[in-house]
């Protein structure tokens, strides 16, 4: 996060400041990063899919089994 902008860089401080707030000294900060956006697109695509029915089913069965156990072995 960009919290380190409160102090201006010390003139005599040399190149390596502590956390290196994005320098304006030539280094492009973070332009369009194709890999990052692809990664997020990949996740977004999968996350949009509905959760498979078997998975929901599994959770329901686990839940039901636990409840039965709690209630003392009623069929």
């Amino acid at each position: 996060m960009c919290s380190g902008m409160t102090q201006p860089p010390k003139p005599g401080g040399g190149a390596g400041t502590a956390t290196g707030p994005r320098g304006r000294n030539g280094a492009v900060p973070e332009p369009h990063d194709e890999i990052a956006s692809k990664l997020r697109a990949l996740y977004a695509e999968i996350e949009r899919e509905p959760i498979p029915a078997e998975l929901i089913d599994l959770l329901e069965r686990l839940d039901a089994a636990e409840e039965r156990e709690r209630d003392g072995d009623q069929p």
């Binding site: 280094a27 492009v28 973070e30 890999i35 990949l42 996740y43 959760i51 998975l55 686990l62």
Partner: protein
Amino acid sequence: MSDAQPSFKAALLAALPSLRAFALSLSGRADVADDLVQETVMKAWAKQADFRLGTNIQAWLVTILRNTFYSQMRKRGREVQDSEGTFTARLSVPPAQDGVLDLSDFRRALAELPDDQREALLLVGASGFSYEEAAGICGCAVGTVKSRVSRARSRLQEILGIAGASDYGPDGKQGGTTTWRAFAT
């Protein structure tokens, strides 16, 4: 006691989409991913007493899942790829005609990465964990995660033939750290 249980179930449900995304992207196979998520759910359910609500369930689940993944691979006799020692052949995906990188090309390229690098990249770049969280999940040092992410990125750029967004050194300079941290929050 019994009222903690529906909320655990709800928390689990809410975490599933992202967990599935991680499983699918890590394993690269829908059937393997489905099994992994199911097994993770069962293990998590059995161990729910270990989980304290309010802590990061996503990190907990991802840890269970990736441990399951690696132990399954070992059982199948597949050597867990270790980028420290392995240099596998590189696949070159021809760039798409219009220069737009197709998602399926990207998926294929991701699958070419050594497992540990792919895992680190996914955790930090897609799942949204900090380097510290990712290190906890993988059981390795923060610096190791950083170098895996950095190498995964260079490798992907190489495979996909895309230029780096900015030219960090291979050792992951501060610029790179800033970039990934930005995505992790």
